[in-house]
């Protein structure tokens, strides 16, 4: 059992997942940032609408990008020849 985890931690797939998660972190981090900024703009009621418009754009882009990469990587992983 323990050995299993160990081998898993050592294996490529684990590192690959970490790499992938970085992208997601970026995406979610960006999202959080934009939300925060929108929140601030509400706090000081300063052109909220503009903030919202911009942030929506930004958020969507990042999520799509993250999505695409995940799709590819998962796809590749699934699409391997059997028995390798």
């Amino acid at each position: 059992m323990f050995g299993k985890i160990k081998s898993f931690l050592g294996s490529n797939i684990f590192i690959q997942i970490i790499l992938l998660s970085f992208l997601w972190m970026l995406a979610s981090g960006m999202t959080l940032l934009l939300i925060n900024l929108v929140h601030v703009s509400y706090e000081v009621n300063d052109h909220q609408s503009a903030s919202i418009a911009i942030s929506i754009l930004g958020i969507i882009v990042f999520w799509i990008l993250a999505g695409i990469l995940t799709y590819v990587l998962v796809g590749l992983y699934k699409g391997r020849k059997k028995g390798v």
Binding site: V40, E43, V44, N45, D46, H47
Partner: protein, 755 residues
């Protein structure tokens, strides 16, 4: 975007401290060692003290802000009738002088070229013994005393001193006294003030009336106030100074021609028979000769060809002057900054006489002179040029005492003067800085800073007697002593049995104040202007205020910052004048050469800015920085030239140029200024100190010809011919116009070029 402040507090949190009060004062303020304990333990209590400004002859009342009894800022005293809360740059900057790093911290002795500090007693002993020797062998005439002070009382103290000790060679430089000098020549009494209530036409000969004059801020207010009431201000000056920027008419004219211009005006009056016949009959001795002389020599066309002022202009101004009910042709000390200054002044007086001095006024009873013993005496002795001449004439000189005057800096041909000074066996300076002059001293007994001593600045230029208190806002940090106290103790020691009714200068001031008190006239400056009713009541003998004792009055005086008498009566000024001089004879050749420039030559017109009074500016970094702000030229001498003249010599705007006079070459930064007289180059005075303060730039006076006004001996500021030595391309980081200088942009030119 609208944010209300509370939200923002919330939003930014503590960071609003950036705007907020008292941010890290401890870190901000650095004070003399002696003061630091107070600062860092101090409760940071704010207090205000009233004192007087000594930066220029104006003598405005200052409101000094102290934190834990350490002065940090100065503003104008809003209740003072002189400046009514206004203040000029020099007054604002003056606090910094108190903390100036170059200030002498105690008496200094010159031991072969180096100044070593000694105790006051030693210094005093040396001084006393030396002077004692002189007196013993009856050589009082071999001692010279050169004083520059704007305080009449201090001047008075020096006069007293010279009387008691017999050092008769006393030379006092005092702006107001100098202004009065030519009047004393011809009539024995000077007008006290311009009577703005009557005066409707001011013909101003060269006075920078709202910048540096007898009472600049008062004049500023009055001129602005009366302009709306049909009061006209015509200025005759070689430079479009801020003072006359708002004048109704400006006659660009070199000082050397003032007399001719004035007489040209006089001609118009005489021709039109529009002069004040009654007055002339009564008071103008030798009028007919004068009239004849003027009519013969000064018809407008002649004046035009002489001075270059178009004759119709002369006619127009002449007509204005004669139409005016109470015109005043005004001048002050600045008119003497020319080799024929006195002559000019006399011409202006003559012009005034034709209209009976209508614009001027006099106090009904000579308030101050009746309580000021020595004011009348020795009024004719002014300024240092006499010193220079006398020194050259006077080989056996024993000692020279200098107080307040930095005449080396303020004099042309400094080389010779310095030579003369270096030959004097004993020079004692009371300056609190080692300036150009006191660097020759053998002994320096530094005076208090003006924020550390008592004085009383008396003034009549408002048409009302006023006395502003100069009082210590802080007790002195350094081992300095009030020069007047030195004088007093000298008097006592040198002349045994001299009866001096006061044992220090403060007493003297107090006694003077007591005299004011005993007249029971006037009010303190702690109340607003009295109304008409008040004045009326006062006339019929009501006392708006009274003090139980002199001490009350004295305390009140210190708190109020001054005394004045708004109820003083004034009369018209009609002196007996007689002219023996016949005009126009002086330096005709100079006039010719200035009028028709020799080829390749330009006139060097040195002008004075309102940031500097007789070279004091370099003590105040904030002023030095601001000096060339108008042209965005920093820390270097600039020269203004008329674009037409420039194009004739193919000189670039904002380029470096080297000027060449008979005394040498000096670099200037050339800027175009369409208001400059064609053929002239205007250069500011005030930079180029070599010994103290911000020594940047050049002192143009040092390069101008050795010319003085014959009788007052003021240096000549605008009679030197100069030629363009070389025009090198170079420019400051700011440019007034689009630059055409690729070098700058490609970065190949290193910055040291600008410096």
């Amino acid at each position: 975007m609208e944010i209300n402040r509370r939200d923002f507090m919330k939003l930014i949190g503590g960071s609003l401290a950036g705007l907020a009060i008292g941010g890290a004062a401890g870190a901000v303020m650095k004070l003399p060692k002696s003061a630091e304990p107070i600062l860092y333990s101090g409760p940071r209590i704010e207090s205000w003290k009233l004192t007087a400004c000594t930066a220029c002859p104006g003598g405005c009342s200052l409101k000094v802000r102290l934190i834990d009894n350490l002065p940090i800022q100065a503003f104008g005293n809003p209740l003072s009738p002189i400046n009514e809360g206004g203040i000029c740059s020099m007054g604002l900057a003056s606090v910094a002088r108190l903390y100036h790093p170059d200030r002498l911290t105690g008496p200094m002795k010159n031991v072969n070229g180096k100044f070593v500090s000694i105790s006051y007693d030693e210094a005093y002993k040396i001084l006393k013994d030396e002077l004692g020797k002189v007196i013993d062998n009856k050589k009082q005439d071999d001692v010279f005393i050169a004083v520059q002070t704007e305080s009449k009382l201090r001047a008075d103290m020096f006069k007293k001193f010279s009387e008691e000790t017999g050092f008769s060679n006393l030379i006092i430089e005092n702006f107001q006294a100098s202004g009065a000098y030519p009047y004393n020549q011809v009539s024995g009494e000077a007008p006290d003030f311009i009577d703005f209530d009557k005066c409707d036409y001011l013909l101003n000969f060269g006075s920078q009336i709202t910048e540096v004059s007898e009472n600049p801020l008062y004049y500023t207010r009055k001129i602005i106030e009366h302009r709306s009431k049909g009061f006209k201000h015509t200025a005759v000056q070689p430079k479009l100074t801020p003072s006359i920027s708002k004048s109704d008419d400006w006659v660009p004219l070199l000082p050397v021609f003032y007399a001719d211009f004035a007489l040209g005006i006089a001609y118009v009056l005489l021709k039109d028979e529009q002069y004040d016949k009654a007055f002339v009959e009564k008071y103008f001795t030798g009028f007919n000769d004068f009239k004849q002389y003027v009519l013969d020599n000064y018809f407008p066309d002649k004046v035009q060809e002489l001075t270059g002022v178009p004759s119709d202009k002369i006619l127009q101004i002449g007509r204005d002057f004669e139409k005016a009910a109470a015109p005043a042709a005004y001048f002050d000390e600045t008119i003497f900054y020319n080799s024929n200054g006195t002559e000019n002044a006399l011409a202006v007086i003559a012009l005034n006489a034709l209209k009976g001095f209508g614009g001027f006024g006099k106090l009904k009873e000579e308030f101050f002179s009746k309580i000021l013993e020595n004011e009348k005496k020795k009024e004719e002795e002014i300024t240092f040029a006499n010193l220079k001449e006398r020194l050259s004439g006077h080989k056996a000189i024993k000692a020279l005492l200098i107080s307040g005057s930095n005449f080396v800096y303020n004099s042309p041909d400094q080389a010779e003067l310095k030579k003369q000074l270096s030959e004097i066996p004993l020079i004692v300076s009371f300056s609190s800085f080692v300036d150009e002059t006191s660097s020759f001293a053998h002994l320096i007994i530094p005076d208090h800073d003006d924020f550390e001593k008592f004085d009383l600045l008396i003034d009549k230029s408002m048409g009302l007697p006023s006395a502003t208190v100069l009082q210590p806002v802080v007790d002195h940090y350094y081992n300095t002593i009030d020069t007047s106290d030195v004088l007093i103790s000298l008097m006592k020691d040198l002349k045994s049995g001299a009866k001096i009714p006061y044992d220090n200068y403060n007493d003297y001031i107090k006694q003077f104040a007591n005299k004011i008190y005993s007249t029971h006239e006037g009010i303190l400056m702690d109340q607003s202007k009295p109304t008409v009713i008040e004045k009326g009541l006062r006339k019929i003998g009501w006392q708006t205020e009274s003090y139980s004792s002199f001490d009350d009055f004295w305390d009140g005086l210190l708190d109020a910052g001054g005394w004045w008498n708004p109820f003083a009566d004034k009369t018209s000024y009609n002196p007996k004048i007689d002219f023996k001089t016949n005009f126009g004879k002086q330096n005709a050749s100079m006039k010719k050469s200035l009028a028709s420039l020799p080829n390749k030559k330009l006139r060097l017109n040195i002008f004075r800015k309102n940031l500097d009074y007789k070279g004091s500016m370099s003590l105040y970094p904030v002023l030095v920085e601001q000096f060339g702000l108008k042209w965005t030229v920093f820390y270097q001498l600039w020269a203004e030239i008329n674009p037409d003249t420039a194009s004739k010599y193919s000189l670039q705007d904002r380029s470096k140029v080297v000027l060449k006079t008979s005394r040498g070459k000096f670099p200037v930064f050339l800027v175009y200024n369409p208001s400059v007289i064609p053929g002239s180059i205007d250069v500011p005075f005030g930079l180029g100190h070599t010994n103290f303060g911000d020594n940047c730039g050049v002192n143009p006076l040092a390069y101008s010809d050795d010319l003085f006004d014959k009788s007052t001996g003021m240096p000549s500021f605008s009679e030197t011919l100069v030629e363009i030595d070389s025009a090198s391309s170079g420019s400051s980081a700011y440019t007034a116009q689009i630059i055409t200088d690729e070098k700058k942009l490609s970065g190949t030119q290193n910055r040291s070029v600008y410096a």
